[in-house]
Symmetry: C2
Subunit: 340 residues, 2 copies
Amino acid sequence: MNNRFLDACWGKPVDRTPVWLMRQAGRYLPEYMRVRSKCTFLELCKSPELAAEVSIQPVEILKVDAAILFSDILTPVEPMGMKLDFVPGPLFEHPIRTMADVEALRIPQMEQDVPYVLETIKILRRELDGKVPLIGFGGAPFTLACYMVEGKGSKDWATMKRMMYTAPEVFHALMEKVTMMDMEYLNAQIKAGAQAIQIFDTWGGVLSPADYVRYVLPYTTKLINGLNRQETPVIHFVKGAGSMLDIVKRAGGDVMGLDWHVELGKARDILGTDMAVQGNLDPTVLFASHKIIEREVQRVLDENGDRPGHIFNLGHGILPTVPPENAIHMVECVHRLSQK
Amino acid sequence: MNNRFLDACWGKPVDRTPVWLMRQAGRYLPEYMRVRSKCTFLELCKSPELAAEVSIQPVEILKVDAAILFSDILTPVEPMGMKLDFVPGPLFEHPIRTMADVEALRIPQMEQDVPYVLETIKILRRELDGKVPLIGFGGAPFTLACYMVEGKGSKDWATMKRMMYTAPEVFHALMEKVTMMDMEYLNAQIKAGAQAIQIFDTWGGVLSPADYVRYVLPYTTKLINGLNRQETPVIHFVKGAGSMLDIVKRAGGDVMGLDWHVELGKARDILGTDMAVQGNLDPTVLFASHKIIEREVQRVLDENGDRPGHIFNLGHGILPTVPPENAIHMVECVHRLSQK
C-alpha cells in the first residue's frame, strides 16, 4: 500500500516525495492511443472499462504514486441540458447567454446521468486494489461556466467577462447552479470511491485579483465547503494564480496546485505551513535531455526544501508530443532525489 | 505642453495620473479602420504619413497623455533576413532552427533598412509639436526570438523551449544577435525623437522564474543597459510576470508595465519606491457599463494610493471590439478621479 500521496496531501512526513502528472493518461502514451483509436474521446469517457484501462496505464508505465480518473471536466455539464461535442476542442452548440438559458439548465441525477463516471471509479478502486490512491476531479464552477457561456475555448473570454460586467444577475445565477451541480458531482465521486479530489480552475487566473474575489472565490469556497472531505483531501488548482495565492487559499482547499510561473519556495512562504502544495515543473522541460530533466527536478525539490506536504507534478498537463521515456525518467528522478 | 507622462515615468509628482492605452491606435477605432482599409497591415507600418496619422488619432479622440509609434514588434526582424507575412497573425516562412540559420541573420542598418519607422517618428514629433510625448517601442529579445524560432504564434512555445533546453548554444547565439539588433533599433528610435521606450516582453512570462533568470534576464538587462536613456525612460512590460516582479526589476527599466493579474498595490510594495509602474486595468472591463468602468478605474487608483510614479494603462492591448466611447470614458475617469 502506497500512501505517500495521501500523506503528503495532509502534510504528513513521507519516505519520498509522491509524484503524478496532470493528464498522465493521455496522447503521449502509445498504450493510450491504442485504446483511443477504437472510439471517440467522449465515447472513451463514457466507457467505464476503457476509461479505467487508460487511467491505470500511467501507474504501471510511469510508476506514479496516484491514479486519476480518466474523464473530462465538461462531462457533467452535458446532462444539464447542453449537447457537447469535441472538434477536437469542446463545443457547446447552444451556449448560455440569458437568464432563460440558465433557468432551463437542470441539475443532473448523478447515478442516472453520469453512471459511467461512477462506474469507472468503482472499477478503478477494485483494480488498483490499494496499490495507489485514486484521484477524482472536476472543473471549478468558473471554468465550467466559461465554456458554457463562450460555447468553446477562448483567448480572452471576453463574452464571459462581458456577462460578468453587464449582466451580473445572469452570471451569478449561472454560477450558483453550476456550483450546486459540481458539489453533487464531486460528492458522488467521493461516494463511489475517489480518495482525493482535484478541482481544476483552468481559467480562474484570467481575472484580476479583485474580480476573482468578487466573481469566483465565493463559489469555489461554497463548493469546497460542501464536499464530504473529512477523509478526502481537496487539491485546488487555479492556473495563472501565482500572484494571488493568498486570495486563492481562502477558498479552503487542502492542497494548492501550482503552475510553473511561480517559484515553489516563494509559494510555500506565502501559503504557510498549514497548506500542502502540488507542482510545479514546466511541462516543456520533458522535451529536454535526461540530464536537464534531473537538474530541473532537483531545483523544484530544492525550492521546497524539507517542508512536508509537497506532491510533485507538472505545472500543467503533460504535452501530447512528450517522449514517454522522459516522463518515466522524471518520476524516477523525483523518487530517487527525494529519498529520505 | 503636457509632461505628465514623462514626469510619472521619472517618479515626479503630477497634477493628474497620466494615461494611455496599449494598442490605442487600432481596430476598435473607425478612424483607424478607414486608413487601414486602403492597405495591408504591413503597408501601413511602412507608410510614415499613414502610420503617423493613426498614431495621432487616439491622442485627439481619447485625450490620452502620450502617443505611441504605430508599428509592429517584428518590423526590424524582417531586414535581418526573415520574410514576414501577416495571415493575419505573424508568419515567418523560414523559422530559425539551426546555428547556420542564426549565422545567416544580419544586423540591419536602421537608417537604410527601416527608414519608415524613423521617418514616422520624425513626422510624429513635428505634428505632436510638444502636445504629448511620443513613445517608441520594440519587442524584448526573448519575445522576438519566440516568433523567429516558432515561425508564428504558439500556445505553449514548445519549439522555442525545446531549443532552449536541447540546443542552448543555438538559443544563446540567437538571443545575442537579436539583442544587438534590438539595441541598435531602439537607439535609432531615440535618436529620431522617441521620448520614452516601451519594451514588450509578451512571452517572457511563459517561462518559470528560474528559466527567466537563466534564459531571458541577461539579454533584456544587456539591452536596457545599452540604450541611450539618460533622458528617455524605459518601460519594461513582461506579460504574466506578476509572481516574479522582483526578478524582472533586475533588468533595470525605469517603469514596470503590469498586466491585470497582479494587484497594483502589491506590485508597488514588491518593487519599492524607486520604480514607477504602468497599468493595470483588465482590457475586458471596457466592455462594461460606464458605471463599472468608473468603479474599476477608481479601484486601480486606490490600489496605487498617493504614491508618485503611476501611469494608468490597460493590463494588455485594447480589444478590437471595444466601443470607442468606453475608452474615452475610461481616460476621462482617470483624469477626473486622480485630480489633485
